[in-house]
Protein backbone atom coordinates (compact mmCIF):
# COMPACT_ATOMS: atom_id res chain seq x y z
CA UNK A 1 0.00 0.00 0.00
CA UNK A 2 2.91 2.28 0.68
CA UNK A 3 4.10 1.62 -2.88
CA UNK A 4 0.66 2.42 -4.32
CA UNK A 5 0.39 5.60 -2.26
CA UNK A 6 3.87 6.95 -2.96
CA UNK A 7 3.92 5.71 -6.58
CA UNK A 8 0.55 7.28 -7.30
CA UNK A 9 1.76 10.59 -5.88
CA UNK A 10 4.85 10.46 -8.10
CA UNK A 11 2.75 9.62 -11.18
CA UNK A 12 0.40 12.51 -10.32
CA UNK A 13 3.28 14.98 -10.50
CA UNK A 14 5.50 13.44 -13.16
CA UNK A 15 3.15 11.89 -15.76
CA UNK A 16 3.49 13.49 -19.18
CA UNK A 17 -0.26 13.75 -19.77
CA UNK A 18 -2.14 15.60 -17.06
CA UNK A 19 -5.02 13.14 -17.35
CA UNK A 20 -2.69 10.30 -16.31
CA UNK A 21 -1.57 12.54 -13.48
CA UNK A 22 -5.18 12.82 -12.29
CA UNK A 23 -5.53 9.03 -12.42
CA UNK A 24 -2.28 8.69 -10.46
CA UNK A 25 -3.63 11.10 -7.87
CA UNK A 26 -6.77 8.95 -7.55
CA UNK A 27 -4.53 5.90 -7.01
CA UNK A 28 -2.56 7.71 -4.32
CA UNK A 29 -5.77 8.78 -2.57
CA UNK A 30 -6.99 5.17 -2.69
CA UNK A 31 -3.70 4.06 -1.12
CA UNK A 32 -4.20 6.52 1.74
CA UNK A 33 -7.76 5.16 2.18
CA UNK A 34 -6.39 1.62 2.59
CA UNK A 35 -3.90 2.94 5.15
CA UNK A 36 -6.88 4.36 7.05
CA UNK A 37 -8.39 0.85 7.01
CA UNK A 38 -5.13 -0.54 8.42
CA UNK A 39 -5.36 2.09 11.16
CA UNK A 40 -8.79 0.84 12.31
CA UNK A 41 -10.55 3.86 10.88
CA UNK A 42 -12.99 2.32 8.36
CA UNK A 43 -15.41 5.23 8.47
CA UNK A 44 -12.70 7.72 7.53
CA UNK A 45 -11.49 5.34 4.81
CA UNK A 46 -14.95 5.10 3.25
CA UNK A 47 -15.35 8.87 3.54
CA UNK A 48 -11.98 9.30 1.82
CA UNK A 49 -13.02 7.03 -1.06
CA UNK A 50 -16.43 8.68 -1.40
CA UNK A 51 -15.31 12.29 -1.21
CA UNK A 52 -11.75 12.29 -2.53
CA UNK A 53 -11.91 9.63 -5.24
CA UNK A 54 -15.64 9.90 -5.90
CA UNK A 55 -15.79 13.67 -5.99
CA UNK A 56 -12.45 15.45 -6.13
CA UNK A 57 -10.55 13.11 -8.46
CA UNK A 58 -13.57 12.73 -10.75
CA UNK A 59 -14.09 16.52 -10.69
CA UNK A 60 -10.48 17.03 -11.80
CA UNK A 61 -10.80 14.32 -14.46
CA UNK A 62 -13.97 15.82 -15.88
CA UNK A 63 -12.54 19.33 -15.85
CA UNK A 64 -9.47 18.19 -17.75
CA UNK A 65 -11.51 16.13 -20.20
CA UNK A 66 -14.25 18.68 -20.85
CA UNK A 67 -11.93 21.65 -21.19
CA UNK A 68 -9.68 19.68 -23.49
CA UNK A 69 -7.09 22.19 -24.55
CA UNK A 70 -3.57 21.61 -25.68
CA UNK A 71 -2.17 24.20 -23.31
CA UNK A 72 -3.47 22.34 -20.27
CA UNK A 73 -1.18 19.46 -21.10
CA UNK A 74 1.71 21.60 -22.26
CA UNK A 75 4.14 22.21 -19.49
CA UNK A 76 7.31 24.17 -19.24
CA UNK A 77 9.89 21.64 -18.15
CA UNK A 78 11.61 22.80 -14.96
CA UNK A 79 15.24 23.69 -15.33
CA UNK A 80 17.70 21.26 -13.85
CA UNK A 81 18.48 23.76 -11.09
CA UNK A 82 14.80 24.04 -10.15
CA UNK A 83 14.44 20.27 -10.24
CA UNK A 84 17.50 19.78 -8.03
CA UNK A 85 16.21 22.43 -5.62
CA UNK A 86 12.81 20.67 -5.48
CA UNK A 87 14.32 17.23 -4.91
CA UNK A 88 16.68 18.61 -2.27
CA UNK A 89 13.91 20.46 -0.40
CA UNK A 90 11.49 17.53 -0.50
CA UNK A 91 14.16 15.02 0.51
CA UNK A 92 15.43 17.25 3.32
CA UNK A 93 11.95 17.63 4.83
CA UNK A 94 11.22 13.91 4.45
CA UNK A 95 14.51 12.88 6.03
CA UNK A 96 14.11 15.37 8.87
CA UNK A 97 10.61 14.16 9.78
CA UNK A 98 11.53 10.47 9.37
CA UNK A 99 14.70 10.89 11.45
CA UNK A 100 12.72 12.62 14.17
CA UNK A 101 10.10 9.84 14.09
CA UNK A 102 12.66 7.03 14.43
CA UNK A 103 14.90 8.89 16.88
CA UNK A 104 12.07 9.38 19.35
CA UNK A 105 10.03 6.65 20.92
CA UNK A 106 7.39 6.51 18.17
CA UNK A 107 8.43 3.04 16.97
CA UNK A 108 7.81 1.65 20.45
CA UNK A 109 4.17 2.65 20.68
CA UNK A 110 1.70 -0.19 20.27
CA UNK A 111 -1.61 0.01 18.52
CA UNK A 112 -4.39 -0.65 21.00
CA UNK A 113 -6.67 -1.78 18.21
CA UNK A 114 -9.30 0.72 19.20
CA UNK A 115 -12.03 1.17 16.68
CA UNK A 116 -14.16 4.21 17.16
CA UNK A 117 -17.46 3.39 15.48
CA UNK A 118 -19.25 5.87 13.31
CA UNK A 119 -21.72 6.27 16.19
CA UNK A 120 -18.90 7.64 18.37
CA UNK A 121 -17.74 9.94 15.59
CA UNK A 122 -21.30 11.06 14.90
CA UNK A 123 -21.90 11.82 18.55
CA UNK A 124 -18.72 13.87 18.74
CA UNK A 125 -19.56 15.79 15.56
CA UNK A 126 -23.16 16.46 16.52
CA UNK A 127 -22.48 17.48 20.14
CA UNK A 128 -19.04 18.84 20.97
CA UNK A 129 -18.02 19.81 17.46
CA UNK A 130 -21.41 20.97 16.24
CA UNK A 131 -20.30 24.65 15.84
CA UNK A 132 -17.45 23.43 13.64
CA UNK A 133 -19.93 21.43 11.57
CA UNK A 134 -22.10 24.53 11.10
CA UNK A 135 -19.13 26.64 10.04
CA UNK A 136 -17.99 23.88 7.69
CA UNK A 137 -21.42 23.72 6.10
CA UNK A 138 -21.32 27.49 5.54
CA UNK A 139 -17.81 27.25 4.05
CA UNK A 140 -18.92 24.47 1.70
CA UNK A 141 -21.98 26.43 0.59
CA UNK A 142 -19.86 29.56 0.07
CA UNK A 143 -17.27 27.62 -1.94
CA UNK A 144 -19.93 26.11 -4.20
CA UNK A 145 -21.49 29.54 -4.80
CA UNK A 146 -18.02 31.00 -5.43
CA UNK A 147 -17.11 28.23 -7.89
CA UNK A 148 -20.39 28.67 -9.77
CA UNK A 149 -19.99 32.45 -9.86
CA UNK A 150 -16.41 32.23 -11.06
CA UNK A 151 -17.11 29.78 -13.84
CA UNK A 152 -20.30 31.48 -15.05
CA UNK A 153 -20.19 32.65 -18.64
CA UNK A 154 -21.82 36.01 -19.37
CA UNK A 155 -23.65 35.74 -22.65
CA UNK A 156 -24.04 38.98 -24.56
CA UNK A 157 -26.96 37.68 -26.61
CA UNK A 158 -28.95 36.88 -23.50
CA UNK A 159 -32.58 36.28 -24.61
CA UNK A 160 -35.23 38.02 -22.54
Amino acid sequence: MMVVTVGGALVALEADEIIYGAIGLAGSLFGVATLFFLLNAPYVAVFQVAVYIGAVAVLILFTVMLVRQEKWAKEVRPTSLTRIAGIFTGAAITIAIAAAAYATNLAGFDSLGNTATFVDIGQLISTGDSPVLEVLALVLAASIVAALTLSRVDREDNPK
Partner: protein
Protein backbone atom coordinates in the same frame (compact mmCIF):
# COMPACT_ATOMS: atom_id res chain seq x y z
CA UNK B 1 4.37 -2.08 8.45
CA UNK B 2 2.55 -1.69 11.70
CA UNK B 3 4.36 0.75 13.91
CA UNK B 4 3.52 4.39 14.29
CA UNK B 5 6.91 5.40 12.89
CA UNK B 6 6.13 3.54 9.64
CA UNK B 7 2.96 5.51 9.08
CA UNK B 8 4.80 8.72 9.93
CA UNK B 9 7.45 7.71 7.37
CA UNK B 10 4.82 7.28 4.62
CA UNK B 11 3.31 10.60 5.62
CA UNK B 12 6.72 12.30 5.50
CA UNK B 13 7.43 10.85 2.04
CA UNK B 14 4.07 12.09 0.76
CA UNK B 15 4.72 15.53 2.25
CA UNK B 16 8.17 15.63 0.65
CA UNK B 17 6.68 14.71 -2.75
CA UNK B 18 4.14 17.49 -2.32
CA UNK B 19 6.90 19.99 -1.49
CA UNK B 20 8.85 18.83 -4.56
CA UNK B 21 5.77 19.42 -6.73
CA UNK B 22 5.20 22.89 -5.29
CA UNK B 23 8.83 23.88 -5.92
CA UNK B 24 9.26 22.50 -9.44
CA UNK B 25 5.85 22.65 -11.15
CA UNK B 26 4.28 25.69 -12.80
CA UNK B 27 1.11 24.12 -14.15
CA UNK B 28 -1.80 25.15 -11.89
CA UNK B 29 -3.34 21.67 -11.93
CA UNK B 30 -0.05 20.06 -10.90
CA UNK B 31 0.14 22.52 -8.00
CA UNK B 32 -3.39 21.45 -7.00
CA UNK B 33 -2.25 17.81 -7.09
CA UNK B 34 0.75 18.67 -4.89
CA UNK B 35 -1.44 20.46 -2.33
CA UNK B 36 -3.88 17.53 -2.23
CA UNK B 37 -0.99 15.11 -1.63
CA UNK B 38 0.26 17.25 1.26
CA UNK B 39 -3.23 17.43 2.79
CA UNK B 40 -3.40 13.63 2.61
CA UNK B 41 -0.06 13.37 4.38
CA UNK B 42 -1.42 15.50 7.22
CA UNK B 43 -4.65 13.46 7.39
CA UNK B 44 -2.65 10.23 7.63
CA UNK B 45 -0.74 11.63 10.61
CA UNK B 46 -3.96 12.62 12.39
CA UNK B 47 -5.40 9.08 12.19
CA UNK B 48 -2.07 7.34 12.88
CA UNK B 49 -1.36 9.31 16.04
CA UNK B 50 -4.88 8.69 17.28
CA UNK B 51 -4.58 4.92 17.00
CA UNK B 52 -1.33 4.40 18.89
CA UNK B 53 -0.57 4.45 22.59
CA UNK B 54 -0.31 6.60 24.61
CA UNK B 55 -2.74 8.63 22.53
CA UNK B 56 -5.14 5.77 21.77
CA UNK B 57 -6.49 5.31 25.30
CA UNK B 58 -8.37 8.58 25.12
CA UNK B 59 -9.42 8.03 21.51
CA UNK B 60 -11.98 5.29 22.13
CA UNK B 61 -14.61 7.62 23.54
CA UNK B 62 -13.28 10.75 21.92
CA UNK B 63 -12.09 10.11 18.33
CA UNK B 64 -10.86 13.65 17.76
CA UNK B 65 -8.26 12.63 15.17
CA UNK B 66 -10.80 10.94 12.89
CA UNK B 67 -13.21 13.85 13.32
CA UNK B 68 -10.48 16.30 12.32
CA UNK B 69 -9.77 14.22 9.22
CA UNK B 70 -13.45 14.24 8.23
CA UNK B 71 -13.52 18.04 8.49
CA UNK B 72 -10.21 18.26 6.63
CA UNK B 73 -11.47 16.08 3.75
CA UNK B 74 -14.60 18.20 3.40
CA UNK B 75 -12.54 21.40 3.40
CA UNK B 76 -10.15 19.95 0.82
CA UNK B 77 -13.09 19.11 -1.44
CA UNK B 78 -14.33 22.69 -1.22
CA UNK B 79 -10.82 24.00 -1.86
CA UNK B 80 -10.41 21.78 -4.94
CA UNK B 81 -13.72 23.01 -6.38
CA UNK B 82 -12.76 26.68 -5.93
CA UNK B 83 -9.22 26.19 -7.30
CA UNK B 84 -10.56 24.38 -10.37
CA UNK B 85 -13.01 27.25 -10.99
CA UNK B 86 -10.15 29.76 -10.64
CA UNK B 87 -8.03 27.74 -13.09
CA UNK B 88 -10.86 27.64 -15.63
CA UNK B 89 -11.35 31.43 -15.34
CA UNK B 90 -7.60 32.05 -15.55
CA UNK B 91 -7.44 29.93 -18.68
CA UNK B 92 -10.38 31.83 -20.18
CA UNK B 93 -8.66 35.17 -19.51
CA UNK B 94 -5.03 34.30 -20.29
CA UNK B 95 -5.28 31.17 -22.49
CA UNK B 96 -2.75 29.58 -20.17
CA UNK B 97 -2.61 27.68 -16.87
CA UNK B 98 1.07 28.37 -16.22
CA UNK B 99 1.09 30.26 -12.92
CA UNK B 100 4.27 32.15 -13.79
CA UNK B 101 2.39 33.71 -16.74
CA UNK B 102 -0.55 34.96 -14.68
CA UNK B 103 0.86 38.43 -14.13
CA UNK B 104 -2.43 40.06 -13.16
CA UNK B 105 -2.67 37.92 -10.03
CA UNK B 106 0.61 39.30 -8.68
CA UNK B 107 0.37 41.57 -5.65
Amino acid sequence: MNSLADFVLVSAILFGIGIYGLVTKRNALRLLFAVEIMINAANLNFVAFEQYAPFAAAAVDNPVGQTFVLFSIALAAAEAAVILAIVVVAYRLHQDVDVSELKTLEG
